[in-house]
Protein backbone atom coordinates (compact mmCIF):
# COMPACT_ATOMS: atom_id res chain seq x y z
CA UNK A 1 0.00 0.00 0.00
CA UNK A 2 1.12 3.55 -0.68
CA UNK A 3 1.83 6.05 2.05
CA UNK A 4 1.50 9.82 2.01
CA UNK A 5 2.97 12.16 4.58
CA UNK A 6 1.00 15.30 5.39
CA UNK A 7 3.39 18.13 6.24
CA UNK A 8 2.92 21.43 8.02
CA UNK A 9 2.32 23.99 5.25
CA UNK A 10 2.96 27.16 7.21
CA UNK A 11 4.33 28.23 10.60
CA UNK A 12 1.73 28.13 13.34
CA UNK A 13 0.35 26.30 16.33
CA UNK A 14 -1.68 23.10 16.39
CA UNK A 15 -4.95 23.80 18.19
CA UNK A 16 -6.49 20.37 18.03
CA UNK A 17 -5.94 16.96 16.48
CA UNK A 18 -9.07 15.23 15.17
CA UNK A 19 -7.69 11.75 14.46
CA UNK A 20 -5.43 9.13 16.01
CA UNK A 21 -3.31 6.31 14.65
CA UNK A 22 -5.51 3.51 13.35
CA UNK A 23 -8.43 5.77 12.34
CA UNK A 24 -9.75 5.59 8.80
CA UNK A 25 -10.30 8.87 7.01
CA UNK A 26 -11.88 10.02 3.78
CA UNK A 27 -10.50 12.63 1.41
CA UNK A 28 -11.32 16.06 2.85
CA UNK A 29 -11.66 14.90 6.47
CA UNK A 30 -10.06 17.20 9.04
CA UNK A 31 -6.77 15.86 10.42
CA UNK A 32 -6.02 18.79 12.71
CA UNK A 33 -6.56 22.52 13.15
CA UNK A 34 -3.59 24.81 12.63
CA UNK A 35 -3.66 28.38 13.92
CA UNK A 36 -1.61 30.62 11.69
CA UNK A 37 -1.77 34.31 10.77
CA UNK A 38 -4.52 34.73 13.40
CA UNK A 39 -6.76 32.23 11.61
CA UNK A 40 -7.80 28.70 12.37
CA UNK A 41 -7.06 26.53 9.35
CA UNK A 42 -8.12 22.91 8.94
CA UNK A 43 -5.52 20.51 7.57
CA UNK A 44 -7.38 17.99 5.43
CA UNK A 45 -6.75 14.43 4.42
CA UNK A 46 -5.70 14.35 0.75
CA UNK A 47 -6.86 10.74 0.26
CA UNK A 48 -9.13 7.99 1.59
CA UNK A 49 -7.04 5.80 3.87
CA UNK A 50 -5.90 4.91 7.36
CA UNK A 51 -3.82 7.02 9.72
CA UNK A 52 -0.64 5.13 10.57
CA UNK A 53 1.19 7.87 12.41
CA UNK A 54 0.47 11.25 14.01
CA UNK A 55 3.37 13.67 14.41
CA UNK A 56 1.75 16.61 16.22
CA UNK A 57 -0.18 17.30 19.38
CA UNK A 58 -2.34 20.21 20.59
CA UNK A 59 -0.49 23.41 21.59
CA UNK A 60 2.58 22.35 19.59
CA UNK A 61 4.28 25.15 17.65
CA UNK A 62 5.11 23.87 14.19
CA UNK A 63 7.20 24.89 11.20
CA UNK A 64 6.80 24.17 7.47
CA UNK A 65 7.83 20.66 6.48
CA UNK A 66 7.28 19.04 9.88
CA UNK A 67 5.27 15.84 9.83
CA UNK A 68 1.59 16.09 10.76
CA UNK A 69 0.49 12.58 9.88
CA UNK A 70 1.18 9.60 7.66
CA UNK A 71 -1.72 8.04 5.77
CA UNK A 72 -1.72 4.61 4.17
CA UNK A 73 -4.04 4.12 1.25
Amino acid sequence: MARETIEVPITGKIISVAVKAGDTVKEGDVICMLESMKMENPILSPVDGAIVEIGVEPEQVVKPGEKIAVIEY
Partner: protein, 383 residues
Protein backbone atom coordinates in the same frame (compact mmCIF):
# COMPACT_ATOMS: atom_id res chain seq x y z
CA UNK B 1 -52.12 70.42 39.64
CA UNK B 2 -51.38 72.28 36.38
CA UNK B 3 -47.67 71.90 37.00
CA UNK B 4 -48.17 68.16 37.47
CA UNK B 5 -50.12 67.89 34.19
CA UNK B 6 -47.45 69.96 32.39
CA UNK B 7 -44.78 67.65 33.75
CA UNK B 8 -46.73 64.60 32.54
CA UNK B 9 -47.19 66.25 29.13
CA UNK B 10 -43.50 66.97 28.82
CA UNK B 11 -42.76 63.37 29.74
CA UNK B 12 -44.72 62.20 26.74
CA UNK B 13 -43.19 64.62 24.25
CA UNK B 14 -40.91 61.99 22.80
CA UNK B 15 -43.84 59.78 21.84
CA UNK B 16 -45.77 62.77 20.48
CA UNK B 17 -42.90 63.68 18.16
CA UNK B 18 -42.06 60.20 16.96
CA UNK B 19 -42.43 60.05 13.18
CA UNK B 20 -42.94 56.82 11.23
CA UNK B 21 -39.55 57.28 9.55
CA UNK B 22 -37.83 57.56 12.93
CA UNK B 23 -39.72 54.51 14.19
CA UNK B 24 -38.56 52.49 11.16
CA UNK B 25 -34.99 53.62 11.72
CA UNK B 26 -35.15 52.68 15.41
CA UNK B 27 -36.36 49.27 14.30
CA UNK B 28 -33.45 49.03 11.85
CA UNK B 29 -31.10 50.00 14.69
CA UNK B 30 -32.52 47.18 16.81
CA UNK B 31 -32.06 44.73 13.93
CA UNK B 32 -28.39 45.78 13.69
CA UNK B 33 -28.06 45.28 17.45
CA UNK B 34 -29.60 41.83 17.13
CA UNK B 35 -27.21 40.91 14.31
CA UNK B 36 -24.23 42.15 16.31
CA UNK B 37 -25.16 40.73 19.71
CA UNK B 38 -27.46 37.81 18.92
CA UNK B 39 -25.78 36.55 15.75
CA UNK B 40 -22.29 37.87 16.52
CA UNK B 41 -21.94 39.36 13.01
CA UNK B 42 -19.27 42.08 13.10
CA UNK B 43 -20.22 43.05 16.68
CA UNK B 44 -17.45 45.64 16.97
CA UNK B 45 -19.15 47.61 14.21
CA UNK B 46 -22.81 46.71 14.46
CA UNK B 47 -23.26 47.33 18.19
CA UNK B 48 -22.11 50.98 18.14
CA UNK B 49 -23.74 51.61 14.75
CA UNK B 50 -27.01 50.00 15.82
CA UNK B 51 -27.20 51.94 19.06
CA UNK B 52 -26.18 55.10 17.23
CA UNK B 53 -29.14 54.61 14.88
CA UNK B 54 -31.47 54.23 17.87
CA UNK B 55 -30.10 57.30 19.67
CA UNK B 56 -29.96 59.46 16.56
CA UNK B 57 -33.60 58.82 15.70
CA UNK B 58 -35.13 59.34 19.14
CA UNK B 59 -37.09 62.59 18.90
CA UNK B 60 -35.99 65.59 21.01
CA UNK B 61 -32.92 63.70 22.26
CA UNK B 62 -30.62 65.95 20.22
CA UNK B 63 -28.38 62.96 19.55
CA UNK B 64 -28.53 62.86 15.75
CA UNK B 65 -25.25 63.49 13.97
CA UNK B 66 -26.81 66.59 12.38
CA UNK B 67 -28.32 68.01 15.61
CA UNK B 68 -26.23 71.14 16.05
CA UNK B 69 -24.54 71.32 19.45
CA UNK B 70 -25.49 67.79 20.46
CA UNK B 71 -22.86 65.46 21.88
CA UNK B 72 -22.81 63.17 18.85
CA UNK B 73 -22.87 66.16 16.49
CA UNK B 74 -19.67 67.38 18.15
CA UNK B 75 -18.02 63.98 17.65
CA UNK B 76 -19.32 63.77 14.08
CA UNK B 77 -18.07 67.24 13.22
CA UNK B 78 -14.69 66.80 14.87
CA UNK B 79 -14.05 63.20 13.87
CA UNK B 80 -15.76 62.47 10.58
CA UNK B 81 -16.19 65.77 8.76
CA UNK B 82 -12.54 66.53 9.48
CA UNK B 83 -11.66 62.95 8.35
CA UNK B 84 -9.71 62.37 11.57
CA UNK B 85 -11.49 59.10 12.48
CA UNK B 86 -10.82 57.18 9.24
CA UNK B 87 -7.26 58.47 9.16
CA UNK B 88 -6.60 57.36 12.74
CA UNK B 89 -8.16 54.00 11.99
CA UNK B 90 -5.53 53.51 9.31
CA UNK B 91 -2.83 54.06 11.92
CA UNK B 92 -4.28 51.14 13.87
CA UNK B 93 -4.62 49.03 10.72
CA UNK B 94 -1.00 49.67 9.79
CA UNK B 95 0.11 48.53 13.23
CA UNK B 96 -1.80 45.26 12.76
CA UNK B 97 -0.77 44.34 9.20
CA UNK B 98 2.09 42.06 8.35
CA UNK B 99 3.30 42.90 4.86
CA UNK B 100 5.77 40.00 5.06
CA UNK B 101 3.87 37.60 2.76
CA UNK B 102 3.55 40.34 0.13
CA UNK B 103 7.20 41.33 0.40
CA UNK B 104 8.29 37.69 0.18
CA UNK B 105 6.37 37.27 -3.06
CA UNK B 106 5.86 40.75 -4.58
CA UNK B 107 4.21 39.37 -7.72
CA UNK B 108 0.97 39.02 -5.72
CA UNK B 109 0.82 42.82 -5.49
CA UNK B 110 -0.58 42.78 -9.01
CA UNK B 111 -3.72 41.08 -7.64
CA UNK B 112 -4.09 44.01 -5.26
CA UNK B 113 -4.33 46.28 -8.27
CA UNK B 114 -6.82 44.07 -10.15
CA UNK B 115 -9.02 43.93 -7.05
CA UNK B 116 -9.85 47.60 -7.48
CA UNK B 117 -11.30 47.49 -11.00
CA UNK B 118 -14.86 47.31 -9.72
CA UNK B 119 -14.44 50.87 -8.49
CA UNK B 120 -14.00 52.23 -11.98
CA UNK B 121 -16.83 50.19 -13.51
CA UNK B 122 -19.16 51.32 -10.73
CA UNK B 123 -18.14 54.93 -11.22
CA UNK B 124 -19.38 54.78 -14.80
CA UNK B 125 -22.60 53.04 -13.74
CA UNK B 126 -23.28 55.61 -11.02
CA UNK B 127 -22.71 58.47 -13.43
CA UNK B 128 -25.02 56.75 -15.90
CA UNK B 129 -27.74 56.54 -13.23
CA UNK B 130 -27.60 60.28 -12.71
CA UNK B 131 -25.44 60.69 -9.63
CA UNK B 132 -23.22 63.77 -9.79
CA UNK B 133 -19.46 63.20 -9.99
CA UNK B 134 -18.77 63.57 -6.26
CA UNK B 135 -21.55 61.12 -5.37
CA UNK B 136 -20.52 58.67 -8.08
CA UNK B 137 -16.92 58.61 -6.83
CA UNK B 138 -18.06 58.11 -3.23
CA UNK B 139 -20.34 55.22 -4.20
CA UNK B 140 -17.70 53.62 -6.41
CA UNK B 141 -15.17 53.60 -3.58
CA UNK B 142 -17.37 51.03 -1.82
CA UNK B 143 -15.57 48.74 -4.25
CA UNK B 144 -12.38 49.39 -2.33
CA UNK B 145 -13.88 46.92 0.19
CA UNK B 146 -12.51 49.19 2.83
CA UNK B 147 -14.78 51.04 5.28
CA UNK B 148 -12.38 53.77 6.39
CA UNK B 149 -11.40 54.61 2.80
CA UNK B 150 -15.05 54.85 1.75
CA UNK B 151 -15.81 57.09 4.73
CA UNK B 152 -12.76 59.23 4.02
CA UNK B 153 -13.76 59.89 0.40
CA UNK B 154 -17.46 60.33 1.09
CA UNK B 155 -16.98 62.67 4.04
CA UNK B 156 -14.79 64.75 1.76
CA UNK B 157 -17.09 64.91 -1.25
CA UNK B 158 -20.68 63.75 -0.65
CA UNK B 159 -21.60 63.94 3.04
CA UNK B 160 -25.29 63.34 2.34
CA UNK B 161 -24.43 59.83 1.18
CA UNK B 162 -22.15 59.08 4.13
CA UNK B 163 -24.63 56.91 6.08
CA UNK B 164 -25.56 54.78 3.06
CA UNK B 165 -22.00 54.46 1.73
CA UNK B 166 -20.44 53.58 5.07
CA UNK B 167 -23.10 51.01 5.95
CA UNK B 168 -22.87 49.49 2.48
CA UNK B 169 -19.06 49.38 2.62
CA UNK B 170 -18.93 47.68 6.01
CA UNK B 171 -21.84 45.35 5.17
CA UNK B 172 -20.25 44.12 1.96
CA UNK B 173 -16.87 43.68 3.67
CA UNK B 174 -18.60 41.37 6.11
CA UNK B 175 -20.43 39.63 3.27
CA UNK B 176 -17.29 38.89 1.25
CA UNK B 177 -17.39 35.20 2.31
CA UNK B 178 -20.87 34.98 0.79
CA UNK B 179 -20.39 37.22 -2.27
CA UNK B 180 -17.06 35.93 -3.56
CA UNK B 181 -17.30 32.10 -3.64
CA UNK B 182 -20.10 31.79 -6.25
CA UNK B 183 -18.22 34.18 -8.56
CA UNK B 184 -14.95 32.29 -8.02
CA UNK B 185 -16.58 28.94 -8.78
CA UNK B 186 -18.55 30.33 -11.71
CA UNK B 187 -15.46 31.73 -13.39
CA UNK B 188 -13.17 28.72 -13.01
CA UNK B 189 -13.21 25.05 -13.86
CA UNK B 190 -12.57 22.55 -11.09
CA UNK B 191 -9.24 21.77 -12.72
CA UNK B 192 -8.20 25.42 -12.48
CA UNK B 193 -9.23 25.61 -8.81
CA UNK B 194 -7.29 22.42 -8.10
CA UNK B 195 -4.05 23.98 -9.39
CA UNK B 196 -1.45 22.96 -6.82
CA UNK B 197 0.88 25.57 -5.37
CA UNK B 198 3.60 25.10 -2.80
CA UNK B 199 2.53 26.66 0.50
CA UNK B 200 5.35 29.08 -0.19
CA UNK B 201 6.15 30.53 3.22
CA UNK B 202 9.28 32.65 2.94
CA UNK B 203 10.69 34.96 5.54
CA UNK B 204 11.92 38.43 4.67
CA UNK B 205 14.56 40.17 6.72
CA UNK B 206 13.57 42.63 9.42
CA UNK B 207 15.51 45.32 7.55
CA UNK B 208 13.23 44.90 4.52
CA UNK B 209 10.16 45.03 6.75
CA UNK B 210 11.37 48.29 8.32
CA UNK B 211 12.35 49.88 5.03
CA UNK B 212 9.10 48.95 3.29
CA UNK B 213 6.74 51.38 5.06
CA UNK B 214 9.24 54.20 4.67
CA UNK B 215 9.90 53.64 0.97
CA UNK B 216 6.32 52.66 0.10
CA UNK B 217 4.99 55.67 2.03
CA UNK B 218 7.24 58.10 0.18
CA UNK B 219 6.69 56.51 -3.25
CA UNK B 220 2.92 56.12 -3.07
CA UNK B 221 2.39 59.62 -1.69
CA UNK B 222 4.58 61.12 -4.40
CA UNK B 223 2.54 59.22 -7.00
CA UNK B 224 -0.89 59.96 -5.52
CA UNK B 225 -0.71 62.78 -2.96
CA UNK B 226 -4.50 62.88 -2.50
CA UNK B 227 -4.31 59.61 -0.59
CA UNK B 228 -1.51 60.87 1.65
CA UNK B 229 -3.44 61.03 4.95
CA UNK B 230 -4.56 57.40 4.66
CA UNK B 231 -1.35 56.01 3.22
CA UNK B 232 0.80 58.07 5.58
CA UNK B 233 -0.98 56.75 8.67
CA UNK B 234 -1.08 53.17 7.32
CA UNK B 235 2.67 53.20 6.78
CA UNK B 236 3.38 54.98 10.06
CA UNK B 237 1.43 52.31 11.94
CA UNK B 238 3.33 49.59 10.10
CA UNK B 239 6.67 51.25 10.75
CA UNK B 240 5.89 51.43 14.46
CA UNK B 241 5.15 47.71 14.42
CA UNK B 242 8.15 46.62 12.36
CA UNK B 243 10.68 48.96 13.99
CA UNK B 244 10.55 46.84 17.15
CA UNK B 245 11.56 49.78 19.33
CA UNK B 246 8.22 51.41 20.22
CA UNK B 247 6.17 48.61 21.71
CA UNK B 248 4.05 51.04 23.72
CA UNK B 249 3.09 53.00 20.60
CA UNK B 250 2.27 49.79 18.75
CA UNK B 251 0.08 48.72 21.64
CA UNK B 252 -1.76 52.04 21.78
CA UNK B 253 -2.21 52.08 17.97
CA UNK B 254 -3.42 48.47 17.69
CA UNK B 255 -5.69 48.62 20.70
CA UNK B 256 -6.56 51.98 22.24
CA UNK B 257 -6.70 54.08 19.08
CA UNK B 258 -8.23 51.41 16.82
CA UNK B 259 -10.86 50.44 19.42
CA UNK B 260 -11.74 53.99 20.46
CA UNK B 261 -12.05 55.19 16.88
CA UNK B 262 -14.09 52.11 15.89
CA UNK B 263 -16.50 52.87 18.73
CA UNK B 264 -16.87 56.58 17.98
CA UNK B 265 -16.94 56.08 14.21
CA UNK B 266 -19.68 53.48 14.53
CA UNK B 267 -21.70 55.64 16.89
CA UNK B 268 -21.44 58.69 14.62
CA UNK B 269 -22.27 56.74 11.46
CA UNK B 270 -25.27 55.18 13.19
CA UNK B 271 -26.47 58.55 14.47
CA UNK B 272 -26.22 59.97 10.97
CA UNK B 273 -28.67 57.35 9.63
CA UNK B 274 -31.86 59.35 10.03
CA UNK B 275 -35.21 58.46 8.50
CA UNK B 276 -35.23 61.51 6.26
CA UNK B 277 -31.87 60.91 4.65
CA UNK B 278 -31.60 57.11 4.79
CA UNK B 279 -35.02 55.81 3.74
CA UNK B 280 -34.61 57.02 0.20
CA UNK B 281 -34.34 55.56 -3.28
CA UNK B 282 -30.72 56.73 -3.43
CA UNK B 283 -29.84 54.48 -0.48
CA UNK B 284 -31.11 51.45 -2.38
CA UNK B 285 -29.11 52.50 -5.43
CA UNK B 286 -25.99 52.95 -3.30
CA UNK B 287 -26.39 49.41 -1.93
CA UNK B 288 -27.00 47.99 -5.42
CA UNK B 289 -24.01 49.78 -6.91
CA UNK B 290 -21.81 48.81 -3.96
CA UNK B 291 -22.73 45.18 -4.55
CA UNK B 292 -21.80 45.52 -8.22
CA UNK B 293 -18.50 47.19 -7.26
CA UNK B 294 -17.42 44.37 -4.98
CA UNK B 295 -18.61 41.69 -7.40
CA UNK B 296 -16.70 43.31 -10.25
CA UNK B 297 -13.55 43.48 -8.09
CA UNK B 298 -13.80 39.72 -7.78
CA UNK B 299 -14.54 39.22 -11.48
CA UNK B 300 -11.52 41.25 -12.57
CA UNK B 301 -9.32 39.62 -9.95
CA UNK B 302 -10.34 36.19 -11.20
CA UNK B 303 -9.72 37.17 -14.83
CA UNK B 304 -6.20 38.26 -13.88
CA UNK B 305 -5.78 35.06 -11.85
CA UNK B 306 -6.67 32.99 -14.91
CA UNK B 307 -4.26 35.00 -17.04
CA UNK B 308 -1.50 34.53 -14.47
CA UNK B 309 -2.15 30.79 -14.46
CA UNK B 310 -1.61 30.69 -18.21
CA UNK B 311 1.47 32.95 -18.12
CA UNK B 312 3.03 30.95 -15.28
CA UNK B 313 2.29 27.69 -17.14
CA UNK B 314 -0.02 26.43 -14.44
CA UNK B 315 2.03 27.41 -11.42
CA UNK B 316 -0.36 30.05 -10.05
CA UNK B 317 -3.79 29.09 -8.77
CA UNK B 318 -6.30 31.51 -10.33
CA UNK B 319 -8.31 31.71 -7.09
CA UNK B 320 -5.61 34.03 -5.76
CA UNK B 321 -7.09 36.73 -7.96
CA UNK B 322 -10.03 37.03 -5.59
CA UNK B 323 -7.73 37.89 -2.68
CA UNK B 324 -6.76 41.24 -4.17
CA UNK B 325 -9.59 43.13 -2.47
CA UNK B 326 -9.01 45.16 0.66
CA UNK B 327 -11.37 43.06 2.78
CA UNK B 328 -8.67 41.77 5.12
CA UNK B 329 -8.42 38.93 5.97
CA UNK B 330 -11.82 37.86 4.69
CA UNK B 331 -10.81 37.54 1.04
CA UNK B 332 -7.64 35.61 1.90
CA UNK B 333 -9.66 33.23 4.05
CA UNK B 334 -12.17 32.68 1.21
CA UNK B 335 -9.36 31.87 -1.22
CA UNK B 336 -7.76 29.46 1.23
CA UNK B 337 -11.09 27.72 1.81
CA UNK B 338 -12.05 27.46 -1.86
CA UNK B 339 -8.58 26.27 -2.85
CA UNK B 340 -8.59 23.58 -0.17
CA UNK B 341 -12.14 22.58 -1.05
CA UNK B 342 -11.10 21.92 -4.66
CA UNK B 343 -7.88 20.16 -3.67
CA UNK B 344 -7.25 19.14 -0.03
CA UNK B 345 -3.50 19.34 -0.71
CA UNK B 346 -3.77 23.05 -1.47
CA UNK B 347 -2.82 25.59 1.14
CA UNK B 348 -3.01 29.03 -0.47
CA UNK B 349 -3.16 31.14 2.70
CA UNK B 350 0.36 32.57 2.56
CA UNK B 351 -0.03 33.74 -1.06
CA UNK B 352 -3.60 34.93 -0.42
CA UNK B 353 -2.57 37.02 2.57
CA UNK B 354 0.12 38.62 0.40
CA UNK B 355 -2.43 39.51 -2.28
CA UNK B 356 -4.87 40.71 0.37
CA UNK B 357 -2.38 43.14 1.94
CA UNK B 358 -1.55 44.28 -1.59
CA UNK B 359 -5.27 44.98 -1.93
CA UNK B 360 -5.14 47.28 1.08
CA UNK B 361 -2.47 49.38 -0.59
CA UNK B 362 -4.34 49.16 -3.89
CA UNK B 363 -7.59 50.43 -2.37
CA UNK B 364 -5.94 53.55 -0.97
CA UNK B 365 -4.18 54.16 -4.26
CA UNK B 366 -7.44 53.72 -6.19
CA UNK B 367 -9.22 56.18 -3.89
CA UNK B 368 -6.35 58.63 -4.30
CA UNK B 369 -6.60 58.34 -8.08
CA UNK B 370 -10.33 59.09 -7.88
CA UNK B 371 -9.72 62.13 -5.69
CA UNK B 372 -6.96 63.29 -8.03
CA UNK B 373 -9.33 63.03 -11.01
CA UNK B 374 -11.99 65.09 -9.21
CA UNK B 375 -9.38 67.63 -8.21
CA UNK B 376 -7.97 67.73 -11.73
CA UNK B 377 -11.43 68.38 -13.13
CA UNK B 378 -11.82 71.23 -10.66
CA UNK B 379 -14.73 69.50 -8.90
CA UNK B 380 -15.05 70.42 -5.24
CA UNK B 381 -17.06 68.89 -2.39
CA UNK B 382 -20.86 69.04 -2.59
CA UNK B 383 -22.34 71.81 -0.47
Amino acid sequence: MDAFIDALNSLGQGFMNLTWEAAVMILIGCVLLYLGIGRKIEPLLLVPIGFGVVLGNLPLANLGAQDQGGVINLLYTAGILTEIFPVLLFLGLGAMIDFGPMLANPVVLIFGAAGQFGIFITLLLALGLGFVEQEAVSIAVIGACDGPTAIYVTSKYARELLPAVSIAAYSYMALVPIIQPPIMRGMTTRKERETPMAAGEKQVSQRVKVLFPIIAGIATILIAPMGAPLMGMLMLGNLLKESGVVGRLVDVSQNTIANLVTLLLGLCIGASMLGGNFLTWDTLLVFALGFIAISMDTVFGMLLGKLMRVLSKGKINPLLGAAGTSAFPMSARVVQKEGQRANPRNFLLWHAIGANTGGQIGSVMAAAVMLAVLSGLGIGPLA
